[in-house]
C-alpha cells in the first residue's frame, strides 16, 4: 500500500508544478478515497477463501450458537429473543439465552438482514451471518484509517487501513463464516478508542457521547469490553500523573464513563456489574480521582498561596485515597463488590487458570501464546512495532500516549492468551503503520530535497493535519540518495512479503471451517471429511425430538444448532458442576457412567474419534481435561489413575482404568477389528500412532447407534434398564 501511496506522489509532482494547489488537493483526495475504497474491498474479499473453497457455511463451535440465536431473533422478534428460555441446552437446567449472551452480534446481523429484506434483497439469514464478519472487517479498516489520521497523519492512516485489512491476527477471527462476537467487537473496540481519543483531543461533548455509544455497542457485542473499561481509566491515570490533565480530558472521560456505564447497564448480561464487580472498579476510582483533581484545580485557582495549597493537596489526596480504599474494602468484605473473576485473574497471572480453573485452561485458545504464533500472525509488524513506538515517543501527544498504552497492554495480554492476539492486532497495525509511514515519508522527502523541489515534498503528506512532524523528523543522519533508495526498496520488499505472507496464511490456516475437515490424499488430491454434519443430520432425522444427547461440551452448540436435539452441556460453560458431571461420566466405568446418564435422562452419547483419519483434536486427546474438570468437582476421579508414570497412553501400557473407562470404550468400540493403515496391525490408532491396548470391548448398557463414514463421530444409544434385573 505504501507503494501505491508513494508512486502517485512522483506522478503527482511531475504533473503538479503547473497545476493549481487546489487541484493537487483534489487529486490527493481522490487518491485517498480510491485507496481506501480498494482497501475496503480487499479486506472483504481476502476473507472469502472459505466460501469459495467450501461453501457458505458457519464455522467452528460458538458461531453455531450465534447463528441459532440470530435465526430465532429474525423469526420470533426481539422481545421473544430477549426473554428466550432455551430448554434444549443444559438439560435439565435450561438456559436463559436472553440474559446470558451479548446480543450485539445477533442484533447487528438481524438489522442487516431486515435492511436487505426491506430493500427487496431476499437473502437467507445464513448468508448474512456468514458475511457479517468480512463486512465488519472492512468497516474496521475505515476506522483504522481515521484513527491513524488522528494519532499521526493521513499517510499513517492509509497504511494502517491497509495493514489491518490483511493482518492474519485479525483475519483469523473474521473470515467469512466465522460468525462470532469478535467479528463486530474489534470494529466496536477500535471505534470506541478512536472516538475517545478524538474526544480527548477536542474536548468536545459530542465526540465523548459518540465514544459512549461506541462503548455501548462494544458492551453489547463482546465480553472484551472489560479491556476498554480498564484501559481508558489507566490512560487517564497516566495522563494525570504525567501532568497532562486538562479540561478536555475531564469532559471526555466523565461523559464517556457515566453515559457508557448507564448504557452498558441496559445489557442484561452485564447488568449492574459496572458498579458491583471488581473488574470495573478501576474506572470508578479514576472517575472519583478526576473529581478530586478538578476540585484541587479549583482550590488552586482560588488560593494563591502555594504553601497552603501544598498542605491542602496532601490532606485532600490522602483523605480521598483513604475514603476510596475504605469504600472498596467495605464493599468487597460485604460482598456488594464481587471479587475478580477467574478469567480476569488468569489474564493477570498466566499460571492461575492452570492451577485453579481447568475449564478455562482446557480451551486451546486460552493457552499462552507461542513465539511462532506471534510471527505467524504479525509477520513484519512484530519488528515494525518497536520502531513505531520509537516514533510515537518522539512525538508524544495525548493520542500517541493512548496508542502506546493500548499497544503495550494488549501485547501483554496477547502473550497470555492466544485469542487475545486479536485485541492487540489493531494497535500493532496502527503503531507499525506509523513506523512505515514516517520512514517512507522521511526517505521520500530526502529524495525529494535532492530533486530541488523541497516545498512540495514537505507539505504533501502533512498537508491536512496541523501537526509539526516535519520538524521532529530531523535529518540528523546524512543519508545518501542511494541509501535512501535502497531503504525504500527494502521497505517495499518487506511490505510485499507481508502481503504474500498474509494471503498465504489466510488461505492455508484460517479459512477452514473446522466443521468440514480437509486432508491431502496420496496423490495430492483434496479429501473432504464431512462427518460432523453427517452425524448431526443423522441425529436430526433418526432420533426422537426430545432425545437428550450427551457429549463433551465442545460439540453442544453444534448439536443443538444442526442436530436440533437437547444437549446436557454446551460451549457456554456457565455451570462447571454440570460439565464436571459429564466429565465424570466419560471417565468412569460403564456401569457407574450408566447411573449418571440415567440420572440425566441421557438417550444418546456422542464422541468424536480421530483414530481412523488421524484427526488429532478428538475426544481421546481432550480426555485428560475431562478427567481434570471432573476431578475438580468429584474427587473420586483422580488424574493419576489414567496415567502411567505421568504419561498419557492408550496402547497396551495404558492404565487399566483408562482402558476400561467409558470414553475409551466408546471411542475404540469395534476399532480392534479395523485395519487403518497398510502394514500395521489391526486397531492402529493413526491420531496417536499406536496400536490400542484394549481391542475386545464389550458394551453392556450402550449400543452403537451410528458411526460416520470416517469414524470421526460415533453415536451410541443408551439402553433402557434390563427388563428382568
Amino acid at each position: 500500500m505504501a507503494a501505491k501511496k508513494a508512486s502517485p506522489d512522483l506522478v503527482n509532482s511531475s504533473f503538479s508544478f503547473k497545476s493549481l494547489k487546489l487541484k493537487t488537493k483534489q487529486q490527493e483526495l481522490l487518491l485517498r478515497v480510491s485507496i481506501l475504497g480498494l482497501v475496503y474491498v480487499l479486506a472483504f474479499i481476502a476473507r472469502l477463501f472459505s466460501v469459495l473453497r467450501y461453501e457458505s457455511m458457519i464455522h467452528e463451535f460458538d458461531p453455531y450458537f450465534n447463528y441459532r440465536t440470530t435465526l430465532f431473533l429474525t423469526e420470533k422478534g426481539f422481545y421473544e429473543f430477549w426473554n428466550w428460555f432455551d430448554s434444549e441446552s443444559w438439560y435439565p437446567l435450561g438456559r436463559i439465552i436472553g440474559g446470558t449472551l451479548y446480543p450485539g452480534l445477533m442484533v447487528t446481523a438481524a438489522l442487516i438482514y431486515w435492511t436487505l429484506r426491506f430493500l427487496r434483497f431476499f437473502v437467507h439469514i445464513r448468508e448474512v451471518c456468514v458475511l457479517t464478519a468480512p463486512f465488519f472487517a472492512s468497516n474496521t479498516t475505515l476506522v483504522a484509517y481515521f484513527f491513524g489520521k488522528e494519532i499521526w497523519d493521513t499517510g499513517a492512516g492509509l497504511v494502517a487501513a491497509a495493514l489491518i485489512a490483511i493482518c492474519p491476527g485479525y483475519i483469523s477471527r473474521s473470515v467469512a463464516g466465522s460468525y462470532d462476537n469478535e467479528a463486530v467487537a474489534i470494529f466496536a473496540l477500535l471505534l470506541t478508542f478512536y472516538l475517545f481519543v478524538k474526544a480527548v483531543k477536542t474536548g468536545s461533548l459530542s465526540w465523548a457521547l459518540g465514544s459512549a455509544f461506541g462503548y455501548f455497542y462494544m458492551v453489547s457485542a463482546w465480553g472484551g469490553y472489560v479491556f476498554i473499561i480498564n484501559l481508558v481509566p489507566l490512560y487517564v491515570l497516566v495522563l494525570l500523573i504525567t501532568g497532562r490533565y486538562s479540561m478536555r480530558l475531564y469532559v471526555a472521560y466523565n461523559c464517556m464513563y457515566i453515559l457508557g456505564m448507564l448504557l452498558a447497564m441496559q445489557i442484561r448480561f452485564v447488568g449492574f456489574q459496572h458498579v458491583q464487580s471488581g473488574e470495573h472498579m478501576a474506572a470508578m476510582g479514576v472517575f472519583l480521582l478526576m473529581q478530586v483533581f478538578y476540585f484541587l484545580d479549583w482550590v488552586k485557582h482560588q488560593l494563591n498561596d502555594t504553601k497552603l495549597f501544598q498542605t491542602f493537596l496532601r490532606i485532600t489526596v490522602t483523605s480521598a485515597i483513604l475514603v476510596g480504599g475504605i469504600a472498596l474494602g467495605v464493599g468487597t468484605a460485604s460482598g456488594y463488590i464481587s471479587p475478580w473473576t477467574g478469567r480476569f485473574y488468569s489474564l493477570l497471572d498466566p499460571t492461575y487458570a492452570k492451577d485453579h480453573i481447568p475449564i478455562i485452561a482446557s480451551v486451546s485458545e486460552h493457552q499462552p501464546t507461542a513465539w511462532s504464533s506471534f510471527m505467524f500472525d504479525y509477520h513484519i509488524l512484530l519488528f515494525l512495532f518497536p520502531a513505531g513506538l520509537y516514533f510515537c515517543f518522539k512525538r508524544l501527544s495525548d493520542a500517541t500516549i493512548f496508542i502506546v498504552m493500548y499497544g503495550l497492554t494488549s501485547l501483554y495480554f496477547a502473550g497470555v492468551m492466544v485469542r487475545l492476539i486479536l485485541v492487540a492486532t489493531p494497535a500493532v497495525c496502527l503503531i507499525s503503520a506509523i513506523a512505515v509511514s514516517a520512514t517512507v515519508k522521511n526517505l521520500t522527502s530526502l529524495l525529494r530535497t535532492k530533486q530541488k523541489v523541497p516545498q512540495t515534498g514537505s507539505t504533501k503528506g502533512v498537508g491536512s493535519s496541523k501537526s509539526s512532524s516535519k520538524v521532529t523528523l530531523d535529518q540528523s543522519q546524512p543519508f545518501h540518495k542511494n541509501g535512501a533508495i535502497a531503504l525504500l526498496v527494502g521497505v517495499f520488499y518487506l511490505l510485499s512479503r507481508y502481503a504474500i505472507h498474509c494471503t498465504w496464511v489466510t488461505s492455508e490456516a484460517y479459512s477452514s471451517p473446522s466443521i468440514v475437515l480437509a486432508a491431502r490424499g496420496a496423490h495430492g488430491n483434496r479429501i473432504i471429511f464431512d462427518d460432523y454434519r453427517e452425524a448431526y443430520y443423522w441425529l436430526r432425522q433418526n432420533t426422537p425430538t426430545d432425545a437428550k444427547v450427551m457429549s463433551w461440551w465442545d460439540y453442544g452448540y453444534q448439536i443443538t444448532a444442526m442436530g436440533n436435539r437437547t444437549v446436557i452441556v454446551d460451549n457456554n460453560t456457565w455451570n462447571n458442576t454440570h460439565i464436571a458431571t459429564v466429565g465424570r461420566a466419560m471417565s468412569s466405568y460403564e456401569d457407574e457412567a450408566y447411573d449418571i446418564m440415567r440420572s440425566l435422562d441421557v438417550n444418546y452419547v456422542l464422541v468424536v474419534f480421530g483414530g481412523v483419519t488421524g484427526y488429532s483434536s478428538d475426544d481421546i486427546n481432550k480426555f485428560l481435561w475431562m478427567v481434570r474438570i471432573g476431578g475438580g468437582v468429584y474427587p473420586v476421579i483422580k488424574e493419576p489413575d489414567y496415567l502411567v508414570n505421568g504419561e498419557f497412553r492408550v496402547d497396551k501400557g495404558a492404565s487399566p482404568k483408562m482402558l476400561n473407562c467409558l470414553m475409551y470404550k466408546l471411542c475404540y468400540y469395534r476399532f480392534g477389528e479395523l485395519v487403518t493403515e497398510y502394514g500395521k496391525p489391526t486397531g492402529y490408532d493413526r491420531a496417536r500412532g499406536v496400536e490400542i491396548g484394549n481391542k475386545d470391548i464389550k458394551l453392556e448398557h450402550l449400543e452403537e447407534a451410528y458411526t460416520t463414514s470416517n469414524w470421526i463421530v460415533r453415536i451410541y444409544r443408551v439402553k433402557p434398564p434390563t427388563n428382568r434385573l
Partner: protein, 435 residues
C-alpha cells in the same frame, strides 16, 4: 398324541387372527397358554390345577417338552400369552425353544410359570437364573425342615409352609389358613435383583441338603433365606412364578390333609389349591393390573395444556388410573399415589386425591426454579403392575414485563431520582439567570 397336538396347532393357527387380539393392552389377561410337560402323566396327576385354569377360560395347549415342533412364535408373532413349564428334568427343549427364547418371551411382556423339582436340569436352572433365582447347586439337595414338616407323612422333606407374603393382590383377599405343602428344591434370590420376591418362604429351621446322605459340611442355604416359591415382575410387567416343587401343584397334595408338626391345628385340606389358584390368577394378570391414562396438567382456570410454565404458576394435575378386574376396567382407588415435579430431584412431591372414579388429581404451585421439569408418577406397590409415567415440561423465568413495575420499598429511590432532576433544573436556572 402327535395327531392331537398337530390338530391343536392347526386350530390355533386357524384361530390366530382372532386370538392375536386376545392379549393386548386393553385386555391384559392371558388367554392362550402353552403347557410344557416332561411326562404325559403329569397332565392327569396335576389335573385339578389345569382344570381350574380351563374353567377360568384359559386355552391350554399341552405339549411334551421335547416335542420337536415346539415353537413360541411364528412369523414374528407369539402364539401364546403364557407359558407353564412343568418339565423339571428336561435337558433340552424340542423345536426352536431354548432358555433364551423363553427369556425373550418374558421380555415381550408374557407370563411364565416355572416349576423345578429335585434334580432339576441345568436348562431349568438357567431359565430361573435369568429371572433372578438361584436354585441350590447340589442337584440332589432338598429342603429339609425338622420342625415345620407335615405330620401326616412323617417325612421331614414334606414341608408345611405358612410363611406367605402379605399381599392381597398376589394371594387374594381370602386368607390361606392351611399350611402349604411343599416337597422340592430350595432357591435363593439374587440380592442385586429387586424385582423378584419370595411368596412362600421356608421357616428359620429349614435347610437345603441331600436327605439320603449325611451332612458333611454346613448347608449353603439355610433358614428363611430359602425361598420355596418366588415371583418376579419384570419392568415391562411380565410376571413369572418360580416354584421349587412340582409336586405342590399335584392333585395328591391339593387333596391331602395337613397338620404342621408342633401345631394342634389339623386341616382337612392343604392350602395348596388355594395358593396355586390365587397365584395363577396373579401371574396371568387377572388381578393387580393397573393402567394409567396420560398425565393431564394445565394452569388453574385453563383447560389446555401449556407448552411451558412460568415459575410460580398455579397448576392442576390429574391422571386416570384403572384396575383390571379380570373382565373389565374398574376405577382404581388408593390414597398413596404421588406425583413428583422433578428436575434432578423432586421439587414438589404431592399425594394425589382420588374421586373414586379413577381420576387422581392435585394442584400445586410451580417452584421458583426454572429448568426442564418432569411430572413423574412412579407407582410401585407390592403385587400391582408398576406405573412409571413421566411428562416433560419446561419452566421459564419471568419475562421482562412480568415483574412488578413499581416496588414499594424502592419509593425512596424514585423520590431521590425525581428530586435530583428537579434540583438540577432549579440549579441551572439559578446559575444561568442569577446575577
Amino acid at each position: 398324541m402327535m395327531n392331537l397336538s398337530r390338530s391343536v396347532a392347526l386350530i390355533s393357527l386357524f384361530l390366530l387372527p382372532l386370538l392375536s387380539f386376545s392379549f393386548s393392552v386393553d385386555n391384559p389377561t392371558d388367554r392362550r397358554v402353552l403347557v410344557l410337560l416332561d411326562d404325559v402323566s403329569l397332565k392327569s396327576s396335576h389335573s385339578i390345577f389345569f382344570t381350574t385354569l380351563k374353567s377360568r377360560g384359559f386355552d391350554l395347549d399341552f405339549k411334551l417338552a421335547d416335542d420337536s415342533k415346539l415353537a413360541l412364535q411364528r412369523y414374528g408373532q407369539y402364539l401364546y400369552d403364557g407359558l407353564i413349564v412343568f418339565a423339571p428334568s428336561t435337558e433340552r427343549f424340542g423345536g426352536s425353544l431354548d432358555s433364551k427364547s423363553i427369556a425373550d418371551f418374558v421380555d415381550s411382556g408374557r407370563d411364565l410359570i416355572l416349576s423345578a423339582d429335585t434334580s432339576a436340569s441345568d436348562l431349568i436352572r438357567g431359565i430361573a437364573l435369568e429371572c433372578g433365582v438361584d436354585f441350590d447347586e447340589d442337584s440332589s439337595a432338598m429342603v429339609i425342615d425338622h420342625s415345620s414338616f407335615s405330620v401326616s407323612d412323617g417325612d421331614h422333606t414334606l414341608i408345611a409352609a405358612d410363611d406367605l407374603v402379605k399381599s392381597d393382590v398376589i394371594l387374594g383377599k381370602t386368607k390361606i389358613e392351611a399350611p402349604v405343602l411343599f416337597r422340592g428344591v430350595a432357591h435363593s434370590l439374587n440380592p442385586t435383583n429387586n424385582l423378584v420376591l419370595k411368596v412362600l418362604s421356608a421357616s428359620p429351621s429349614a435347610y437345603s441338603a441331600n436327605p439320603s446322605s449325611k451332612l458333611s459340611s454346613p448347608p449353603q442355604l439355610t433358614g428363611s433365606a430359602i425361598s420355596l416359591v418366588s415371583v418376579m415382575q419384570a419392568r415391562n410387567n411380565a410376571r413369572v412364578v418360580i416354584s421349587g416343587s412340582l409336586q405342590m401343584f399335584s392333585d395328591r397334595l391339593f387333596r391331602s390333609g395337613v397338620q404342621k408338626a408342633g401345631s394342634p391345628n389339623k386341616y382337612e385340606k392343604s392350602g395348596n389349591e388355594q395358593f396355586a389358584t390365587e397365584l395363577s390368577k396373579w401371574v396371568f394378570h387377572e388381578r393387580g393390573h393397573l393402567k394409567a391414562g396420560s398425565l393431564v396438567h394445565h394452569r388453574v382456570g385453563e383447560t389446555d395444556e401449556p407448552a411451558i410454565y412460568r415459575i410460580k404458576d398455579d397448576l392442576e394435575f390429574s391422571v386416570e388410573i384403572l384396575e383390571w378386574s379380570g373382565k373389565s376396567w374398574e376405577p382404581y382407588v388408593a390414597d398413596d399415589v404421588q406425583v413428583q415435579f422433578y428436575m434432578m430431584s423432586p421439587y414438589v412431591l404431592k399425594t394425589l386425591s382420588t374421586d373414586k372414579k379413577g381420576m387422581f388429581h392435585t394442584s400445586f404451585k410451580v417452584p421458583d426454579v426454572y429448568g426442564v421439569f418432569q411430572f413423574k408418577v412412579e407407582y410401585e406397590k407390592l403385587g400391582y403392575t408398576t406405573l412409571s409415567l413421566s411428562k416433560q415440561i419446561p419452566v421459564r423465568p419471568y419475562r421482562h414485563n412480568e415483574y412488578e413495575r413499581f416496588i414499594p420499598t424502592a419509593y425512596p429511590y424514585y423520590g431521590a431520582c425525581f428530586t435530583t432532576m428537579a434540583g438540577f433544573f432549579v440549579f441551572s436556572f439559578v446559575y444561568l439567570y442569577h446575577k
